[in-house]
Amino acid sequence: MLRLSASVYLSLREHGEEIYPHECCGVLLGLFGDDGVKTVSRIARCGNTRADSPHNRYHIDPKELIRIQREGRERGEDIVGFYHSHPDHPARWSPTDLAEAHWFGCSYVITSVEKGKAVLTHSFELVGGDEPDKRFEDEKIERF
């Protein structure tokens, strides 16, 4: 399960609307609970380096991620997942999303943005032992 506040939920959806018709992307910061529940305390918006195909591709610069991770460490936060948007496309992971996912145990949150409006937001956890058997599992989002 992924827990996040109403304001965090709203923020990541708003990001998708602002960046439409391109894909937005960002980082979810928070804590991993011993019970397997991830709690998001805040998001960090990121730039999409895929200027060649921003309407259907995203990539976060690792250098930006290192900065976000360092700032998170200073605040006692960890990277618990990532979010991005699908412009005029369902809020479901694509084969590309799975092929490019490598943060096992983390949440990948996807928001469908249709004609500029955020519609559905779903979360998927990347599970499996290694690349050959990795898969996304549907993950419940609990808003508080």
Binding site: H59, H89, T96, L126
Partner: protein, 98 residues
């Protein structure tokens, strides 16, 4: 002997004794990574291919510089340096239209 700190990303901490960072001796990035997998052998298959090359989606930074644009694994490190292991983050909604 230099002791750079290696930051371990969350998906790999189960293989590093749950440690978020590990200090290892090494004069170069390659030495430090070798030291890391020596201490934590389960990390090796998640960082390297079977022929010993760093996996394509594993980015390694020395402080804020990608080692690929420095001297790769021969990049020298000093005390106080941070080596960050950062699996790539990317994706996209649908196949590209050709």
């Amino acid at each position: 002997m230099c002791m750079p700190r290696i930051q371990i990303p969350s998906p790999l901490r189960q293989y590093s004794g749950k440690q978020a960072s590990v200090d290892v001796p090494g004069q170069t990035v390659g030495d430090a990574l070798a030291g890391l997998v020596s201490q934590h052998p389960d990390l090796k298959r998640h960082l390297y291919t079977e022929d010993g090359k760093l996996r394509a989606f594993v980015n390694v930074y020395v402080n804020d510089e990608d080692m690929r644009y420095l001297q790769k694994e021969a990049t020298t490190v000093n005390d106080g340096d941070t080596i960050s292991i950062v699996p790539s983050i990317a994706g996209g909604c649908c196949p590209a239209i050709l």
